[in-house]
Symmetry: C2
Subunit: 403 residues, 2 copies
C-alpha cells in the first residue's frame, strides 16, 4: 500500500509491452535538465533542432513537423479534426482497437465515416477500400500502419494508390512503427503521419510527433469552419512551431528535451540499423516462442508488426496469473489483449530501447519458467536455444539503442 505522501519509489520494470518502452539513461538525463520558458529565445531555437531531427525520423521535408503536446491518441484526434468539416465523408480501415479509435474520433466531427474492416489479425484489403469509396467524395483514407492491439503491419502502397484513385488524402497512424519499421513519409506520399513518443523512439509518453504536407497546409488555409478543437488546431499551433514562434499554449518543455535526446539516439544508430535490430529481435523472439509451441496470433508472417508480437495464450495457462508473476517476481511487463482478446492474447513489445538481445533471451527464459510452473509440458531450454540459433544466422547488429 503506497501512502499518498510517501516519496516516489517506482519499481524498475523491463517493459516488453506495446508501449511505453524502456527509456535510455541518456534520455532520463535530458528529461531532468533545467526547464526554460517556452518563448525563451534559446528554447525557440532549440525547437528548430527538434523539428530537424523529427523530419529525419519521419523521412520528410514537410515544414509542419512537430510534437503535439499530448499523447499518441491526440495524434489521431489532431489528424482527423483538422481535416474534416461537417458533411465530409472519409474511410477508415479498421482492423483493431486503434484503427477503430480513429473512426470513433472522426465521427465526433459530424462527418460520415465509412469503416472498411478486416478480421483482427489481418490487413484491410485496399480493394475493399476502393469498393467503399466508389462514387463517393472521400476526404481521406485513414489506417494504422501498425495496429498495436493485434500486432498487424499494413503495407501502405495499396492504400496510397486507392486514395489517389478516390482523390483522397492518406492519413497514417505510425504510433507503433515510426523508427522501428521502414517508413518514408515523403516517398510513400503520406499526407498526415503521426506517432507517439513512447514506442520505438523510446522517449517518455506524453507527446505525439506529427507531420503534414503542403496539401494539408492548403486544406487548412481553405477550411470553411474553425477546427473544433482549440488545443489541437494546427492552423494556430503552427504559429508557435512555425517561423513566428508565437505563443499558443505552454508545451511540455521537459518532454521535448527527452524527445530530442531520444531522436538523437535513433539517428546515431541510423534508421536502417534500427529497423534491422527490431526485425532481428522479433525473429529471435518468434523462433523461441514457436519452439515452445506457442501460436502466433497473426498467422501470415508478412502481416506481422516487428515491434509488437501477439500470441495466443496456450490452453491450460492462466494468462493474467502468468503476467502477474512475470511482473512481481521478474519485474517484466508484457501486455494482455484488448477488447475481445483480453483473456486470450498476450502482446509482447520489443520497441526502441526495449528491443535488445538480452531482453529477448531473458523473456523466453522467464516465460518458460512461468509456463512450466503452471503445469505446461515444454521441451526445457528449447525456446532460448531457438532464439540463440536465430541470432547466430543474422548479421550482428549493435546491442541496443543508445549504448
Amino acid at each position: 500500500m503506497i501512502n499518498p505522501t510517501d516519496e516516489l519509489r517506482p519499481p524498475t520494470r523491463l517493459m516488453l509491452t506495446p508501449g511505453p518502452s524502456c527509456v535510455s539513461p541518456r534520455v532520463y538525463r535530458a528529461l531532468a535538465s533545467p526547464i526554460v520558458g517556452h518563448v525563451d529565445p534559446w528554447f525557440t531555437e532549440f525547437m528548430g533542432g527538434v523539428q530537424v531531427l523529427m523530419r529525419r525520423v519521419f523521412q520528410t521535408q514537410n515544414h509542419i513537423t512537430f510534437p503535439i503536446s499530448a499523447s499518441g491518441t491526440a495524434g489521431i484526434e489532431t489528424a482527423v479534426v483538422n481535416v474534416l468539416e461537417p458533411g465530409d465523408e472519409a474511410i477508415v480501415c479498421v482492423n483493431g482497437t486503434f484503427s477503430s479509435r480513429m473512426a470513433d474520433i472522426a465521427e465526433r466531427t459530424g462527418a460520415k465515416i465509412h469503416r472498411v474492416t478486416a478480421p483482427f489479425g489481418r490487413q484491410v484489403d485496399p480493394q475493399d477500400v476502393r469498393a467503399a469509396g466508389q462514387g463517393r467524395k472521400i476526404k481521406f483514407v485513414g489506417l494504422a500502419h501498425g495496429e498495436t492491439s493485434t500486432g498487424v503491419l499494413s503495407k501502405l502502397e495499396g492504400f496510397r494508390q486507392v486514395a489517389d484513385e478516390l482523390g483522397a488524402l492518406l492519413i497514417v497512424d505510425s504510433v507503433a512503427t515510426l523508427a522501428g519499421v521502414p517508413l518514408d513519409v515523403d516517398r510513400q506520399r503520406i499526407d498526415i503521419c503521426f506517432s507517439g513518443s513512447q514506442k520505438a523512439i523510446s522517449a517518455p509518453p506524453g507527446m505525439a510527433p506529427i507531420t503534414v504536407n503542403t496539401r494539408i497546409e492548403d486544406l487548412l488555409r481553405n477550411r470553411k469552419t474553425k477546427v473544433q478543437s482549440w488545443y489541437f488546431d494546427l492552423t494556430t499551433v503552427m504559429n508557435y512551431w512555425g517561423k513566428e514562434r508565437t505563443y499558443h499554449h505552454t508545451p511540455p518543455v521537459s518532454l521535448i528535451y527527452a524527445l530530442h535526446e531520444a531522436m538523437r539516439i535513433v539517428l546515431e544508430e541510423g534508421l536502417e540499423a534500427s529497423w534491422e535490430r527490431h526485425r532481428q529481435n522479433q525473429a529471435a523472439l518468434i523462433a523461441g516462442l514457436e519452439a515452445m509451441g506457442i501460436e502466433l496470433f497473426v498467422r501470415n508472417p508478412a502481416d506481422r508488426l516487428p515491434t509488437v508480437t501477439s500470441v495466443v495464450i496456450p490452453a491450460g495457462i492462466d494468462g493474467a496469473k502468468a503476467r502477474a508473476r512475470m511482473l512481481n517476481e521478474f519485474n517484466i511487463e508484457i501486455a494482455g489483449g484488448l477488447g475481445d482478446f483480453k483473456t486470450t492474447m498476450w502482446r509482447i513489445g520489443l520497441m526502441g530501447y526495449s528491443s535488445q538481445r538480452a531482453n529477448v533471451l531473458l523473456f523466453l527464459d522467464v516465460l518458460e519458467r512461468v509456463m512450466l510452473d503452471q503445469g505446461m509440458k515444454l521441451p526445457v531450454g528449447a525456446g532460448i536455444a531457438a532464439a540463440a540459433e536465430s541470432y547466430a544466422h543474422a548479421e550482428p547488429v549493435p546491442v541496443g539503442h543508445g549504448d
Copy 2:
C-alpha cells in the same frame, strides 16, 4: 546557433514569468525516475495517491480529480466541451487573454457564448453577469480566478451567487492561482476548477489538474450528444482515473511523477503558508517597484493577483531590450504583455518555487541596473531598500518551496 544533433545544454534561467516557474531539484529527481507502464498495478495504485494530494491542493472531496494529459489550455477545453452541447448558452467573463480564450474555445462547440467584459486590468462586475443572464437559460458562468495576461484576481463569491440565481454552473480557471492564492473548491462551490502544473505548483509544464463535482458527473451521465473531443472526454477518461483504471490513453507518466512530488512539497509547506509566502514576496516586489517610480498596471490593490505582477513599462525604456538584457546577462526571464500590451507591459511572475525572497531582491537590483543603463533617472538602491523594509514588517515565512 544550436546544431540540431548537439547534446542538450539548456541555460539555467531564473523564471520570473507567469509560468513556467522554476522547478525544485526534488521535482527534477522525481521527473527522471524510471517510468513504468500506465496499467502497471504499482502505477494504478500510485495514481490514487496523486489524486489524494490533488484533492488536498484543490481543497475538495470531489471524486473526479486528476491531471489532464496536456497543458493548462487543455483544462479550459476539457471544462467547456464536456459541459456544453449544441444549442446551449453560457456566459464567459472576459477581462484578459485567457478568459477570452475560454470564450473562443466554448464557441467551437456550437453553443451561444455571451461575453461579459471588463477593461483589462479590472475584475468583471457580477452585476453585469446578472444582467446578461436575465431571462436566459445559462449553462455555466466561466471566469479566470487569476487572469495571467493582466495580473488581475477575481473574487469568486459574487459570481457563485449570480450563477446560483441563474441556475448555472460555475467554471473557474485557477491556472494562475492554485496553491498560490486562497482557493477552496468545495467551500466556494466551484463546479469545475482546473489549473496548470507549471505555475504555483511548480511542476514542469504539460499537465492540467482538474476537479469536477457531482453536479457535473450527473450532467455528463445525461448528455444527449457525445463530447466532441475524444481525448478530453471526461466520461471515458474517468474510467482510467476512476476505480476501474481502464486504459484510455497513455498518460505522461514522468510528468505525473513530477506533479506528485511538487504537490508533496506544496502540502509539506501547507497551503496557508504558501499563500502567505506568495503574498509577502509580491508585497516586497511591489514596494520595490513603487519606490523605483514604476507604475502598477492594476490600479486597485484589491484586484492584484499575488502570483503575477503587471507593470507599465516606464516612458523612455525599451521594454524588449531590457528583457533581452536581463535574460542574456543575468539569466532572468520576465514576460512582456500579450496582445495590445505587447510593448507597454512587463509581467513579473513570483510563483511556486520562484516565489523566494532572494529572487525578489535580485530582480529589483537587476532591474535598477538595466533601467539606469538605459538612461532612466532613479534613486539608486531605493527599490531594494523598500523591499527589505517590506520584509522587515512581515512575519517571517520559510525561504522557499521545497527547501
